[in-house]
Symmetry: C3
Subunit: 273 residues, 3 copies
């Protein structure tokens, strides 16, 4: 039962430092507030260390990285690690450019992340050290489906073992694994892919869930994935025929805002392999 | 009666230059358009001076400051001051980091602001020269309430006297004061705190209100606080049970868009102490 | 019949690289997803060349330009041009500051744009080499109306001839021209001017439409203008009395999301001069 991990976020109200892209940052902030967390953003290196020290989690998203923010990622990351904060990496576009691939891999070497969340192509890039991503969406060839499920479950467990992080590989089917167990999650809707930033929002949520449940990282990360997917289902049910992806964006965050642990327990669809 | 100050914004349609954070900038722009103002953003030092020269007000918000934008704040600030434009400071996170505290205080030394708007912890930091803010939200210990109201009213009046600026200390109860009079405002709803950027939006509105009413700065600033709070009440009244903070954000800006001076006069809840 | 050009966007799903301002970037991304395109943002010079190489179109918008992003615009622009990608320039605020005017004109000299889209004041600035824009909105004196229509049609055709680009001059009446033909488009509503970023969104859409229809650039650009204007009409029809510019923003993107080629054919209002 994963609802307790959401309830804990609302109890603890973790302050989460986000060094994230400017495309979806507003939605990340509102999604964090919706789940009961509290967001703060700071990406000037001279500011990021002190700000992260006030928080309990750091969400590093390389979506619109630049030389200044990369510096902030490393400095805030080291400080957060020294203080025992929750550390999450969202390697947006790893595999799509040398700078993104190199930055994501260098961050993994320099820091011990609690969770790494990305799409199939991004996660493969981190494992292989180079990638084939065409943009910020996963290649179809990389996606998890019925026929490669067992292979992919082993793949994320192995990566969790080698990296020491919980791995969240999200897509039509989501996998959240440590080295021993993998949550296979089937919440969500395909239409979420037509909204910018649902992955970024999930990374924000996941940081808050893990920060509020430090003794149950795997379950907390899985709970955040179920919560986001379920919000996608609930939000969709409230859409009118003339509404589209922009209103859907609002409806999903609204659904997170109104979600309780009980609702999450009833709606979460997963098995553990 | 404060409605006239909103009516004047719609008549004058002041062009407002915003050097503000990238988290809430889109909402600041739409809130400014909703109240009848016109927004422009420019934060490259080489660009900011010329852009601010076209405007009648400058809104400086240090929410995601960096070395480049800090330079732009000072250069645009000096130019705006030389031209007699309305100058507002929103010291987001002052007290939370050395860079934010130092930047806010240096801006206050270098520039003569017409209005300073922040939460209780940020304003206290500016008065004391150092602070204890834990993030970008006010500490509960600092908030204005029934038992410390008289003390806090004197506090903001004193700060107005020493700084020469109208002081807007916003929270559950809002105080807007010059050295002689303090508007104590009780519009708004607690749920507004679960939306990112309502404070930033208010700073944008306030700059427009003061720029359109340069001979009545205190009243114009108070009117903008009442307008934002009233929009929070009106917007909330249109929320459906399944809606949450993301839709609420839209409803508040919508309510500003549909607000008239008459509606503001009817809904504003304040006393002057 | 312009609907086919929208249908092609949905078939091809072009990946569009946007170097654009941080004010409206989220709406640009969602508008691109709504029309069937796929957005990616990257503005670090070291990243922008590789990212643009993955795409089929590059949308350069100078709305919050800075020295780093200007460098990225030139480098990504040259790479995109070498690869034969669709190149669009949105000269936001050209005429309002020296940096904006100079950057827009330098970009035009360095790169061969397929389309240039701006308001009347911005386009005039590019033609004259200097400008009189007061902010990011067009001066009223510059706008296209019944009495200067023939003059303005000749003006944009001449500019298309001299620049080699399709010219889209948008406002109450929109003109989209090559050197021979000019689409005069009367879709849209005045209320769209109270939403930040409808022009930026249109530039994103236009890049996708032209990228998906490389052999019919003029028609594709005109189709995107009709689509945006029609979405403004459809979105407005779904507004409730208490709703304003923030909800209207969502409704417009929703209407793009639900638009088909057939709907566009029925709703497009234009003549070719």
């Amino acid at each position: 039962m994963l609802g307790i991990y959401l309830d804990n976020v609302r109890k603890v109200s973790p302050l989460i430092h986000n060094i994230t892209n400017y495309v979806t940052v507003n939605d990340v902030a509102n999604a964090l507030l919706a789940c009961g967390g509290s967001p703060i953003m700071a990406d000037e290196p001279d500011d990021a260390e002190e700000i992260t020290a006030l928080c309990s989690g750091l969400n590093i998203n390389i979506g619109t990285l630049n030389s200044r923010t990369i510096d902030a990622m490393f400095r805030a990351g080291r400080k957060a690690q020294d203080l025992g904060h929750t550390l999450l990496l969202d390697p947006v576009g790893a595999g799509a450019s040398t700078l993104r691939t190199r930055t994501a891999i260098s961050l993994m070497k320099a820091l011990k992340f609690d969770v790494i969340r990305g799409n199939a192509s991004e996660i493969k890039t981190l494992v292989l050290g180079s990638g084939t991503t065409h943009g910020v969406d996963a290649d179809k060839a990389d996606s998890v489906n019925g026929s490669n499920l067992a292979f992919m479950v082993k793949f994320v467990k192995d990566f969790s073992r080698s990296s020491g992080a919980v791995i969240a590989l999200t897509g039509a089917i989501d996998l959240v694994a440590d080295s021993e167990r993998c949550y296979v999650i089937r919440n969500g809707r395909a239409e979420m892919g037509r909204i910018t930033g649902t992955g970024c929002q999930l990374s924000g949520l996941m940081t808050a869930f893990v920060a509020a449940n430090p003794d149950n990282k795997l379950e907390a990360a899985a709970a955040s994935v179920c919560a986001m997917g379920l919000a996608g289902e609930v939000g969709y049910s409230h859409l009118q025929p003339h509404e589209g992806n922009s209103t859907y964006r609002n409806r999903i965050i609204d659904a997170i805002c109104n979600m309780t642990g009980e609702i999450l327990d009833e709606g979460a669809k997963y098995e553990v392999l």
